[in-house]
Structure formats: C-alpha cells, structure tokens
Symmetry: C2
C-alpha cells in the first residue's frame, strides 16, 4: 500500500505513520509512506520517504503525489490561531494547498482515497445543544472557513470521480504531548499536560465551557478507518463528524485530580481570555455522531480514559 501523509511531522502525522508501520496484520511490510511536511518528519525507517516543502507550493505538491498512491491523509494545515493572525498564509496553505493536492489527484490513473482532516470549527453560533450533521456550516474563523471550503471540494472532487474522499471533522485532540501550539484549542491539552510536568497552566475559557474532544489514540484509529473503509455507505456528502466526548475544563481537571492528585490539579488556574473564549465558544460542544458510529468510527469511553491515556503514555516515555 502506498500512502501519502501531509503534515507528517506534526503530532497526528507522526503518530499515524508509526501506526501504519506497526501494523501486525502483515500489511506493514509492504507499506510505503511519503511523509511530507515543511520540516522533516522525525521517523527514520526504510519504508518512509521524507519530503520537505509547503503544500502551498505547486511544485512540491506535484512531486509528492505519486502515480500509484492508494491513500492520502491530508493533515497539513495552518492552525486556527495562526490562520486568524495571518489571513494570506491560512488561505494559501489551507485553501490553495488543499486544492492543489486535489488537482494533482485528478491527474492520476485511478482516484485515490483522500482523508481530509476537517474540524468542528466549520460550525458557528447559534447552534443547537447537540449539533446534527445537516446543520449549516457558519464558520466564525478563517480556519473554519478554509476547512469548510476544503470539505466542499472533497465532496465535489469525489462526485466527479477525481478522488474517493472523506472529510473527517476531528474533535479537539487531547491530551497532546509536546509543547503548546498556536491552535486556539491548545489549552485543552495544556491544562492536563503542563501540571503533570510540574508546570503551572492557565485555562483561558470558563471552567464550564463545553468542549468536544477525542484522545490521540482514537483519532488515529478513526483516521486509519477513514483510509480503509468502504465509502459506499457515506453517500454524496463526504463530511463526517467524528465521535468525541463532551467535556468541560472542570471535568477534565476533576479527572486529573482523581488520577494524579490534588496538588497537580492546583497547578491550573482559570483566567478567561475574551478572544479565545469567543472563538472556542463558537465551536460545538456536542455533535450527533450516529452516522459516524454506523460507519464504524469509534469513541473514547470517558474523560478519565482520556487523561489516563496521556498519563500512561508519559510513563511509557519515562
């Protein structure tokens, strides 16, 4: 199987490639991955070919989309905070880059599976308490607009038979290892990761803000499912809201206290920031994922499982 991963050096890209290489069903031997990102993917393996460059660069895109590619995981993106700060960069990478990638697919002898990482940022207030998949997208950030346009393009290129695409609306992924990034949702991981590392952290939204989150483990599993599933059941609308958990920062911190103690919990204080709160509160706190579950996507068990997954991973590294 030949796979292209864009955003390969990122948190999800790196984990996805490791998962593809680790498969124990025999497929891992024959897997060949092109790992594309603006910086080199850290994975060194003879099955992985690393390429550096921006997907906003047409030459780069042409060079990474191989004639015989089976599956493309398109994860590369300028994240929400940065896309809001730098409108041109967000449009170039998130919109033009995605379009160039789809155009390159169009020239292939057979349409590849394209898994596009979309986001709940495509929605926007006012929203019902549980957001169905047929509610209008009304993004209130540049990132959300760019992802919403990407979804429309994935559906259209699929309808035309240029690709066999699926746009996965990822929940906020938590807990992420590594350091904070410029995503407006970065704090969702930070309020668990930092105190566990002995660092004080700030929650920039009210503690009762509803968040739609998913563990890295489940997201990787779901992305791989999107890459392998039969898309016949998906229909003409190729956007799928992936399962998540509705949690509040308060519930996450309570889980942290249960699993790591009150002293760790006390390292997090709440100082709502108006700008972050405005954006985060425009994202849905709960989605109807009946369709995703019927299509075989999976969900985390509960908030404790989410925090426990990170604690176990941390112990594994130590």
């Amino acid at each position: 199987m030949r796979v292209l991963v864009t955003g390969a050096a990122g948190f999800l890209g790196t984990r996805l490639i490791k998962a593809l290489l680790a498969d124990r069903d025999g497929s891992a031997d024959s897997v060949r991955v092109i790992a594309a990102d603006t910086v080199a993917c850290p994975i060194e393996d003879e099955r992985v070919e690393r390429r550096t460059g921006s997907i906003a660069d047409a030459g780069m895109v042409g060079s990474i989309v191989d004639r015989d590619v089976d599956v493309i995981y398109h994860l590369a993106a300028v994240v929400s905070g940065q896309a809001e700060e730098d409108f041109d960069l967000g449009m170039q990478v998130n919109l033009d880059g995605t379009r160039q990638l789809l155009e390159a697919c169009r020239r292939l002898p057979r349409p590849p599976r394209v898994v596009f990482a979309s986001s709940v940022a495509v929605f926007g207030t006012p929203l019902p308490p549980i957001v169905p998949e047929d509610v209008v997208v009304a993004p209130q950030s540049s990132y959300g607009v760019e992802k919403a346009i990407g979804e429309l393009l994935v559906s259209e290129y699929s309808r035309r038979g240029f690709i066999d695409g699926i746009a996965c609306r990822l929940p906020t992924v938590a807990v992420r290892s590594g350091s904070a990034n410029t995503a407006l949702s970065s704090f969702v991981s930070g309020i668990i990761r930092e105190p566990l590392a002995g660092i004080d952290a700030v929650c920039p939204v009210p503690l009762d803000t509803s968040l739609w989150v998913c563990s890295p483990g489940i997201v990787i599993e779901n992305l791989r499912h999107a890459g392998a599933m039969d898309t016949a059941g998906v229909g003409s609308r190729r956007m799928v809201s992936l399962p998540g958990l509705t949690v509040t920062p308060a519930a996450m911190l309570a889980a942290l206290e249960r699993l790591a103690g009150a002293a760790v919990r006390r390292r997090v204080r709440c100082e709502p920031d108006a700008r972050t709160t405005r954006f985060v509160c425009s994202w849905p706190g709960a989605l109807d994922v009946t369709r995703a579950l019927a299509l075989g996507f999976r969900a985390d068990r509960d908030v404790d499982a989410l925090v426990a997954q990170y604690i176990a991973e941390r112990r594994g590294r130590a």
Copy 2:
C-alpha cells in the same frame, strides 16, 4: 455613486444598469457605472464605462475595481450547465474570479458593498419541503459548489472587514427574454417565452416538479435593495435566500393558457430528460424567506403576475 457590475452584458446585468440609470430620485445623475463582461455591455450612456475581459483574469479584475467604488454587483458566472460540462472553466470563473474580485476589494481604502449573486443550487437533496436558511448546503453540481464557496468567502471577507458583503440566493429568474442559455433552468423561461413567439417548446422535467422562481422585475428590485440596505441586521451569515414563488411547470402553463389562450399553451410538450430532471430536482422548490422579508426584500404576487410581466414587456418591445 460609483458602481461596478460584473456580468454587465447578461440578462440581469443589463437590466440592473438600466434601473440604476433610470432612477428618478436624483441619484441617477451622479451614478457612474463600470460595466464589465467578456463581451461589451449593450448600454451606451455617458455614465457607463464598458470594459471587456474575464474576471478569471487578474489584470482585468485589478483594472475594474476602482479606488472609489461604492457598490459592486458581482453577477458574472459560468452558468450551471456549462460549469458541469467544463469543470476547469467553472472553477476559474466562479471560484477564482470571485476570489480575485474580493482580493481587489481588500486593497481599497474603504470596504465596498459587494452584492454576490448566489443560487439555490447551493442546496442539495435530501431537503425538507420548505428549506430553512440554516439547513446545510450540500450542492450536487459544480455550479452549486462554486456558489457555496463564494458565499463562504463573502461572509469571511465581511467578517474581516475587507468588504461589506451580502450573498443573495436568487431563485430561478423567469421569464427571461432573449434566447435559451446553457443554464439547466433555462427551460423555465423557455416554456413561456417560446410559445408566445410562436415556437414549439419542450419541458424537460415532469410537469409537477416544484420550481422556485422570481420575475426579472422583482429580482432587479431586490438586487438594488441588497446594494443599498443597512447590513447591520444581516448578522455574521451574509447569505440570504431571496423570496420566490413555488410553481410547477403545470401551473406556469395554466397561467399561460389563461393569459394567452389554449393554442399558445399547446405549443409546449413535456419530454422529461433524465440529466436535467436530476439536477433540477436537487434544487429546493420552496424556501423559508422570513428573514429576507424582514430585511425588506420583496416577492412576486403569483404565477399569473410572473407570466403577465413578460407578456407586458413583450408588448412594450413590439
């Protein structure tokens, strides 16, 4: 007032410019129009500057967006049938052209009003019998996708303060004078216009198909309202479903018989065409236009008024 009209040589563009020039409230003396289209706008008037070129051409777009433009009516588009036949052309004109126009606006000293002609083709089945404005767009044609992306861009560029935009989802405009075009909805005018001219016509969809239509008179009035209205009440979602009438070809032909006689009616026969029917039936037959009416947009009275408007116009020309 300085106005730019794209698609100025088209049916709506020409009528819009004539209406702007004819205003009796004193504003017509000072109006200056740049009339842009791929062919020269037929209106000769010292207040109108005609420019020819494609809005897919960045140089052309730069040259028509004047520093002191007040209102832009962006009507230029590759129509639905042609966009379906020629994917690249549709994307270049309907998507890239719109984006280039918005980018040119961004460089102006103050954000102009931009009225973007969108379409009910942004929707797609399954749809409720009366389509609310907050239902998801799920276009099932390239034209619909390109218009849906245009709407998102108009909202985003407005949110950013680059323009003060409004995207009007126009009903199918009938009865259009002139000849048939490659829009999939062209027959809606043809089944009235051709028999009145003594020409046999074919209705390519079942006679009981629900259509969402509006007369040219009301559409021009509503476009001008969109160009002049206070957008404070529009909110962050800049798409508005303009009022229309739900009619069937059968009801239109009954009106034709009432107003022009049975012999004229008999010139139209029904021969459903699978491709046209598929596309037209994916468009909504009725929309909830509560918001548009509250914003001051107007509706036609009934199907007889629609047909009578064309008959009166025809007599006026004769």
